[in-house]
Subunit: 341 residues, 2 copies
């Protein structure tokens, strides 16, 4: 397997991402293509002695976090590392793309240079939150689509289910439990979008093709009542970032408490292992990346502030996405995801 | 001051709410009207020796949590304790209503029997989250209005500001910092609703009547970057319940860790005071209730599972809302909150 990595445009820079590539190649036995500033990448790869395993593609132009997502369409940045990586994937030079660059540009570039799966209306970002045990909770969509139709949400539910079942939980027999993010459990709750999506998801459940458990509320997500949480990109993003913020708050507060006095330092030492486990449960580095699910080849978006460890984990996820054959599964079941009007 | 309390229809029942009324009367030196099942209320009031301070209005019919919000309009439940309480307030028999009953029914009953402030398009639920120090963070709206217009959000911003400034922070000189809940900080982020609201809020900021600090994301809310967070009722509710769920998760996990072994029990004892402080920071009981802001008389909604302590705190908030003269302040400034079409 060969993973294509866009090494440019993230917060921590090309060298840090390249280190993640090296760790992944060593740990998972894959090959890689490192796309970016060759002058910076080459010495790091040489030092690791991985010239035969990591191909370097020179593309020093890059999309910044501040760039509009449309810069990848034309002009100088249509030659950026991100676009080069997408084109390599589209040309069959590798099995997946991983990038920690600008999210909007990633979506635009993937849609334009690779295209969506035929019949899929919108690609969605679907990160896994390390909550509730049992492999975590998938939240789909988390910001790729601020305005959604009920059909999009139905498609998110199916795509999220295939991903969780065959790439995250390794082909379990059971259908993942799908919940619809809403503001109450009754079927009439929410806006027209949630009300209509509820009906579509119920029909799919009755057909036995989805395991729809109904509406779920933000307060239930941390307890893992669903494996896949379906949401429009706006409220999904609000939910995700609120989870993230609370995780960060608790990490900070625990640290502050443990260093507050000699007594709390000693107490903290006695609880260290368990408290670290709790912190780890909310550490987004553990999870790595999010697939841009619905694109016709595997594209993974790692957090903009990803370090080498996070990037390595995003690569691991992309490997499992390829091995789980997620795109074929979605393609073969596309008829279930169409809503006739 | 006299606070009218609907003692019926909450999860913990009439006796528990009545105990909260008694605590509030003793602690805050107010009078009260307890509306509900007189046969249950009277002995509790008599035992406390507060017959002269707490008037009892017999209204044993009540709205359940499962009832549709429209039951208060006609039929048997238009004679329920909740409606009786609203009518007493409307008739000037007290200064505020506090209820822990059905949220939807509370909004419908308040709108119907008391009415909104003239010029206010929608009433909003605005709980204070015990986050970020500095008196907490107000989240407005949290579920009263799933579909909003930019004008509603502008009005929420003003109403939330008056409430925070004059009832929560006791008339501070500074304008509270108002943030718009969004999925990124740039002005073009979000749906059309957020984009348009951003413009209105910016105009108000430039006029010096609001302190609009821009878009804020879920991850920033726990750190208190804004005093007032403006949201449509859907995403506001998602945010609130996600905060609530994460608070609950951490409380449970800390407890589990502290009882895991003898070693962690000892460590837990040494950290007890600080960890309890952390738990308290996320304990919604500390805050009590949420004003139904925009109604022309003070109506407070306490959590459905409120105990006596929570109910007492909701009463305290309603007292400060009355003393802060919030409704007069909104009424006098209504022209700033109108959007010409």
């Amino acid at each position: 397997m060969r993973i294509i990595v866009d090494t440019m445009g993230s917060d921590k820079g090309c060298a840090e991402i390249t280190k993640g590539v090296i760790e992944a190649v060593n740990e998972f036995g894959i090959d890689a293509i490192a796309v970016g500033n060759a002058a910076e990448i080459a010495p790091i790869v040489a030092e690791a002695g991985l010239e035969s395993r990591i191909e370097i593609v020179d593309a020093p132009i890059f999309v910044t976090m501040e760039d509009d997502h449309n810069v990848v369409i034309r002009g100088e940045k249509s030659k950026s590392s991100m676009v080069a990586a997408m084109k390599l994937l589209s040309d069959g030079k590798g099995d997946a793309v991983v990038t920690a660059g600008n999210t909007g540009a990633t979506i635009t570039a993937a849609t334009l240079y690779i295209s969506r799966i035929r019949g899929i209306r919108r690609a969605a970002l679907a990160p896994i939150m390390p909550l509730g045990g049992r492999g975590g909770v998938l939240l789909i969509d988390c910001g790729a689509n601020v305005a959604c139709t009920p059909e999009y949400l139905l498609q998110f539910a199916y795509m999220g289910s295939y991903y969780m079942r065959f790439a995250v939980k390794n082909g379990g027999e059971e259908l993942p439990r799908v919940g619809l993010l809403n503001i109450g459990t009754e079927s009439h709750k929410g806006t027209e979008l949630q009300q209509e999506a509820y009906k579509l998801l119920t029909e799919a459940h009755e057909a036995g093709t989805l395991n729809f458990i109904g509406n779920i509320e933000g307060r239930d997500i941390p307890f893992g009542v669903a494996d896949v949480v379906v949401a429009d990109g706006f409220s999904g993003n609000v939910c995700l970032k609120t989870l993230e913020g609370m995780g960060k708050l608790f990490g900070q507060e625990l640290k502050r408490i443990m260093y507050a006095s000699l007594k709390t330092k000693i107490g903290g030492l006695m609880l260290k292992k368990d408290l670290n486990g709790l912190k780890k449960q909310l550490d987004y580095k553990e999870i790595g990346g999010s697939p841009l699910i619905g694109i016709s080849a595997p594209v993974f978006k790692a957090h903009g502030s990803a370090d080498a460890f996070t990037l390595k984990n995003a690569i691991k996820q992309s490997i499992r996405y390829v091995e789980g054959d997620i795109i074929r599964r979605i393609t073969e079941n596309i008829d279930k995801m169409k809503v006739s009007r």
